[in-house]
């Protein structure tokens, strides 16, 4: 067709009213007409794109995004298509420059006027950390008191998505009130730090589960008494007393099962008397229990005990009844009685649950311990738990002093503590001023002081105690916009705002005194000062908060337990908490390793080491790694592991527990790791429903779809990495064949739940594929090699993710030159992860709103 000038076309469309007054001639018109209109006009409209009517209207975000797409397709050489005449390099570059310049300028104008980022509130991770640091109470658990945060560009750091409703406000208020009351002194004199030993036999659960009842006649689900490696049949038969006072320290209670309903071990006689720091010491050891009667050797004979044959991992949780569990730590116990210590924080009222994590979890009916051998099965024996605490370095605590300074305290009503003030109005104002100074990341105005003083005074007037009135005022401060919102003004950030941005980036919390002081001296923005502060923050243990929070969103690590391996297909993983916990920690420690050792970004795709413990090493088929602690392990040459892509945590969050999909995993890798997000799936195309009977493979099912021309273009880009990852099952286990349910010869074995396997070997996995640029790979090893060829892209993606996380704004078209600058500055170090962080902080993107 004869192409009308764009201006006329515009007038003829209904959109014309929308764009009235907009300059209709577009940059690069000649190029578009010559190179693009053949396919992208109003008649052919290939890919649903009609370039003849697409206005160059950059104030409209959707319109802008279309032009970015046009730009990027041409840069990538994808357009014009290979089969069409290709433009000369100069012609192409001129066109790209012609449209890129106004686009960059438009983004920069917007950034200057409003800032790249929108003002935002703290997310719930940040709110929790801020209260912990402000109130000197690292044990506070606040995050779960607040609703889940909105997410944009994959992160919980973006103003547009961090909404506030009355529900949010009411939860903030409850959380603030809770936190303040938690740090206030619970009694007048310092609670004594006691060391008390809690013997397993004195615990209701340990002792109660020894006896059989109508609900349990199964030895797998019972505890049993032993001393050293001697069984105590008389005690078990209730013919002898449960405990002999002269042997208290040697007496133990054993289990052959991991904690799960109905046998959930708990040191129930202990309840933390107050929140704070505790040292918990456990004495336990591994043992071996004899086999059951002939023909039923897999049942334990609890009256036959011998020495343990290997160490056993123990996981320790705290529990707020009913059933609110927190993971505190884990350790190994040996065949000889072993004492291990966990130095931790407990909440008031928590008790302690130990779990012999490697042992099986019996699920009805007719369970069969998978660890049982014909001569018996492993067991763990618990002797005692010793608690030292609560441990205080001062009384009242630093948090209490922040709230009430050194006003005297005395016993009050209902067992509470009363703060005594001889001059409440004067004390209130003095305390409030000090608190505001500390809580706000900048000095409080007189207006603010009066505002919150108003709350305190009206509380005092209506009969509140002094402490209650102060807490009401402080609650107000902790819910106020100046506290929960990060205030940034368009343009270059002042030092105070920069300090906050830096601290919320690398600590996920408020700036500390040192950082504030540098800001107050107006020195923080100086490159060398900023660099030193960045390095200091990274070196501080608090930077672990950054690593965990960043990975929770970048890689969806927070969803690690969202789906469970299917009980039928993956009974060997089903109910395996140790594997889930180890997998999450692996990824966190792996990123730590990259960050703190400034290792090149390409390690994301492939590394010659992994962070493993025995459970993970078994899972990955890597020999000679013992024990529950994770550590850096060099990988054998040509190992499929190494890098993020083949970590169990990542392979788990990209699967659904039952099946894997190359499309889902492929899209995930494209977006999260390679920074080339595929377009969203077209509407009304149902997801492929994988066949768990083993008749067809997902690849065969997909092939039909991929052969359709309309689908092929996108899937050629999305699927390749997913195909390579088909060698890994729903939890990242290596597979050469799929597993299938239904007819077939079952694989022999028993699951962690004690149920016989009901799956059989399915079709062979084909992990080969072709990248969109035509390069072939045969499996994950060769794919990794191909991806490494463009390590700058891997680094670019990481830099972009860090910028979104650190600045609370997406990386827009106009930000690209700065991203390239960051890459240039770090290329000599192979784009070291720490170098990238340091360069980002020094960049304009970080230092401007």
């Amino acid at each position: 067709m004869k192409h009308l000038p764009a201006a006329l076309v515009l007038l003829s469309t209904t959109a014309s009213t929308l764009w009235a007054g907009v300059e209709a001639t577009r940059p690069g018109q000649d190029f578009l007409e010559k190179r693009c209109y053949d396919c992208h006009d109003s008649e052919t409209k290939k890919g649903n794109l009609d370039l003849t009517t697409l206005p160059f209207y950059l104030d409209d975000p959707k319109n802008f995004a279309m032009w970015v797409k046009v730009h990027d397709r041409i840069v990538d050489g994808e357009m014009p298509p290979k089969k069409k005449a290709q433009p000369e390099a100069t012609e192409r570059d001129t066109f790209l420059k012609t449209i890129a310049e106004p686009m960059t300028a438009a983004d920069q104008t917007r950034a200057t006027k409003d800032g790249r980022a929108t003002q935002r509130r703290l997310n719930r991770y940040e709110y929790e950390n801020t209260l912990r640091d402000l109130l000197h109470a690292p044990w506070l658990q606040i995050k779960e008191m607040l609703p889940e945060d909105g997410e944009a560009y994959r992160f919980n750091k973006i103003g547009e998505a961090l909404d506030i409703s009355h529900v949010q406000m009411s939860r903030y208020l409850a959380a603030a009130d809770y936190a303040l009351r938690q740090v206030m002194a619970s009694q007048v004199s310092r609670p004594p730090t006691k060391t008390v030993r809690y013997y397993a036999r004195d615990q209701r659960v340990f002792a109660g589960k020894m006896k059989f009842s109508v609900f349990n006649k199964s030895p797998e689900r019972a505890t049993f008494p032993l001393i050293g490696n001697q069984a105590q049949p008389d005690v078990r038969a209730l013919k002898a007393p449960l405990s002999d006072p002269t042997k208290k320290d040697e007496e133990a209670m054993g289990v052959v099962a991991s904690s799960y309903e109905p046998i959930e071990l708990r040191f129930d006689q202990f309840k933390a008397p107050a929140a704070g720091r505790y040292k918990l010491r456990f004495s336990a050891y591994s043992a071996w229990v004899g086999p059951g009667p002939a023909g039923k050797w897999w049942h334990p004979d609890l009256d036959t005990v011998s020495a343990g044959r290997r160490p056993e991992p123990i996981t320790i949780y705290s529990e707020t009844p009913p059933r609110l569990l927190r993971l505190l730590g884990s350790f190994d116990v040996n065949p000889d009685p072993t004492v291990r210590e966990i130095d931790t924080y407990l909440l008031s009222g928590e008790s302690i649950r130990p779990d012999a994590a490697r042992l099986f979890r019996s699920r009805p009916p007719n369970y069969h311990n998978p660890l049982a051998q014909e001569d018996g099965q492993p067991a763990v024996a618990f002797r005692w738990m010793e608690v030292e605490g609560p441990i205080y370095d001062q009384w009242p605590s630093a948090g209490h002093k922040l709230l009430f300074d050194s006003l005297p305290i005395q016993p009050g009503k209902n067992g509470r503590v009363e703060v005594v003030s001889t001059n409440p109005p004067k004390d209130a104002e003095r305390l409030l001023r000090a608190f505001l100074q500390r809580a706000y990341r900048e000095p409080a105005t007189e207006e603010d002081v009066q505002r919150f003083l108003g709350i305190i005074n009206s509380a005092l007037k209506s009969g509140s105690t002094f402490a209650d009135a102060m807490i009401a005022g402080y609650s107000g401060v902790l819910c106020s916009p100046a506290f929960i919102c990060l205030e940034e003004k368009p343009g270059k950030l002042d030092d105070r705002a920069l300090a906050s941005r830096l601290a919320y980036f690398l600590w996920n919390s408020e700036p500390d005194e040192t950082l504030r002081a540098a800001a107050a001296r107006n020195e923080l923005h100086k490159p060398e000062v900023l660099r030193a502060q960045t390095a200091r923050l990274l070196a501080d243990p608090k930077s672990q908060r950054f690593v965990n929070a960043f990975l929770d969103y970048w890689l969806d690590l927070r969803k690690g337990n969202a789906t469970a391996p299917d009980a039928g297909l993956y009974p060997d993983y089903y109910l395996d908490d140790l594997l889930v916990e180890s997998a999450t920690t692996e990824t966190q420690l792996f990123f730590n390793e990259l960050l703190h050792n400034d290792l090149p970004a390409r390690n994301i795709v492939s590394s010659d080491f992994a962070i493993l413990n025995e459970r993970l090493a078994n899972h990955y088929g890597i020999p000679n790694v013992d024990g529950v602690n994770l550590r850096r392990v060099a990988l054998p040459a040509d190992c499929v592991r190494g890098g993020l892509l083949t970590q169990a945590s990542v392979l788990k969050v990209t699967a659904n527990g039952t099946t894997t999909s190359p499309v889902v995993r492929g899209a995930w890798v494209m977006e999260r790791v390679l920074g080339r997000p595929p377009p969203p799936p077209p509407p009304n195309v149902p997801a492929v429903d994988p066949d768990t009977r083993g008749a067809t493979t997902i690849r065969e099912q997909l092939d039909k779809h991929r052969k359709l021309e309309t689908c092929a273009a996108c899937h050629a880009k999305i699927d390749p990495a997913g195909f390579a990852l088909e060698s890994f099952d729903v939890f990242g286990g290596w597979r050469t064949n799929y597993r299938a349910l239904g007819e077939g010869e079952h694989v022999k074995g028993f699951g962690k739940n004690g149920q016989a396997f009901t799956f059989h070997e399915g079709p062979v996995v084909d992990a080969s594929g072709k990248l969109p640029d035509g390069r072939n790979f045969t499996d994950i090893r060769s794919l990794k090699k191909l991806l490494l060829a463009d390590e700058r892209q891997v680094a670019r993606n990481l830099a972009r993710q860090l910028i979104v996380y650190g600045t609370g704004a997406p990386v827009r078209f106009g930000d690209r030159p700065q991203v390239e600058q960051i890459l240039d500055q770090t290329s000599a170090k192979g784009y070291g992860v720490q170098s990238l962080v340091l360069a980002i902080v020094q960049n304009d993107l970080f230092q401007n709103k």
Partner: protein, 436 residues
């Protein structure tokens, strides 16, 4: 002092509010002032309510689930007990909460659908009733009621806060009655009011600061601060409303205070009385959200129709196909169905304006166990009645790969007038369930 906690746990209402919605004008100045402020939360004016019941030992599946799907299904042996109300409920097969495993502890998740209650590091999430109470709870004196039968003190209930904390249930019918209909002492009322007033003054102060920050910021930042400001004002209004409830006398009813059954053996009588309390609360619009945990696991031998069972209820559930145990279990299960049928009938008879109270009340009855004999948490027995839906059907889903039950929760929330598109692991709204 924790003002927000009073927004979410205490309060009753008169019938005036629904009278208004049905066109009966009453002089009620404070509500006049309040309704517009909440119009966006409660666009649907006819009040809707929820009673959610979980029997944590479930029902013998062979006798409960019908076979044929659709509207012309044949009632199963248990559903025969509900024959008079066949058109008032939908029965589901092949539904469950995704990834909620763990046997008995799964009852903690009946209304939360939080995955893996048996595993380490478990933390529960908000329950359906509390999610709704945060949004419509201010419309009645009590945002919600959490009830239980034979519940071990403090250990179980169906209601969980957004922090994953258990809301303990009320186990005595007489205490429920007192809360609903007997007024507090003037001192108690004054103390409540004082706390709420303090909460309001906190909200006033932070709103003032938000206003002052709104000056000289760009459009996008201002929109964020506006949203903060609105959140604060909405909460403050809810506190004001809660104060009004404190001042208003509780409704006067003809019913007399029930006598509490003496022991756990009188399980069925307790269930009947709790159903009564729920009906009274709904008739008086004291609350719109009630949960009831029937802790059968914790129940000893019980009395059914004047006879005692030979074994404890929990023990009977592990029947191992013993005919004598199964016979007793069937007697218990049928009694459950009969009580439910009486409740449906009573709610059919009661009216609110021109509507039957049953059409304004959604009743969810089910269990966290699909089969107590084997502790499976799939193929849950679930009945859903009332609420103005097209019932009289059997919705049969895949028994191998279950349909997500949280989808029903989304449908229920929307029926309450709450704009929700997701709850826990939902994937949409309940397929096959349509409003009349």
């Amino acid at each position: 002092m924790n003002p927000s906690s009073f927004i979410s746990t205490k309060r009753v209402c008169s019938r005036r509010q629904f009278l208004r919605s049905t066109g009966v004008a009453l002089a009620l100045p404070f509500l006049d002032a309040m309704i517009p402020a909440f119009a966006r939360d409660a666009k649907v004016l006819p009040p809707r309510r929820v009673l959610a019941v979980c029997n944590n030992l479930g029902l013998v599946p062979e006798k409960f689930f019908p076979e044929k799907a659709g509207r012309d299904y044949t009632l199963s042996p248990y559903l025969e007990e509900l024959r008079d109300n066949r058109e008032e409920f939908t029965v589901f097969s092949g539904v469950s909460h995704p990834d909620v495993d763990g046997g008995h502890p799964a009852d903690n998740c009946f209304l939360t659908a939080a995955p893996h209650p048996g595993s380490g590091g478990f933390r529960n999430t908000i329950s359906l009733d509390q999610f709704a109470a945060e949004r419509i709870g201010h419309l009645t004196r009590f945002p919600s009621l959490t009830l239980g039968v034979n519940v071990q003190q403090g250990l179980r209930s169906l209601s969980w806060t957004g922090t994953g904390a258990l809301i303990p249930c009320e186990e005595k019918p007489s205490e429920v009655f007192k809360r609903l209909f007997l007024n507090g002492t003037p001192q108690q009322v004054a103390e409540q009011e004082r706390k709420l007033a303090l909460g309001q003054s906190i909200m006033d102060a932070v709103a003032g600061q938000a206003k002052s920050l709104q000056r000289d910021v760009g459009a996008r930042d201002k929109e964020r601060l506006d949203q903060y400001f609105t959140g604060v004002r909405d909460l403050e209004k809810r506190m004001a409303m809660a104060r009004e409830w404190e001042r208003k006398p509780k409704p006067i009813v003809k019913a007399t205070m029930p006598k509490d059954p003496e022991g756990p053996r009188e399980y069925m009588e307790k269930v009947r009385l709790m159903y009564d309390m729920a009906r009274l609360a709904f008739e008086n619009d004291s609350t719109r959200l009630i949960t009831l945990m029937l802790d059968s696991v914790n129940s000893p031998a019980i009395e059914v129709e004047g006879q005692n069972t030979t074994d404890g209820y929990h023990n009977l559930s592990h029947h191992g196909k013993s005919p004598t145990k199964l016979a007793q279990l069937e007697m218990i299960d049928r009694e459950h169905m009969k009580l439910l049928s009486s409740l449906f009938t009573e709610l059919k008879t009661a009216h609110e304006g021109t509507d039957r109270l049953l059409d304004r009340t959604m009743i969810l009855y089910g269990s966290n166990l699909g089969n107590a004999n084997t502790h499976v948490t799939t193929n849950l027995p679930v009945l859903f009645a009332g609420g103005g839906f097209k019932h009289g059907q059997h919705l049969l889903f895949d028994r191998e790969r279950n349909y997500p039950l949280p989808n029903l929760f989304v449908t229920m929330l929307q029926r309450l007038g709450i704009e929700a598109s997701q709850f826990a692991t939902s994937t949409g709204t309940m397929k096959g369930l349509e409003a009349v």
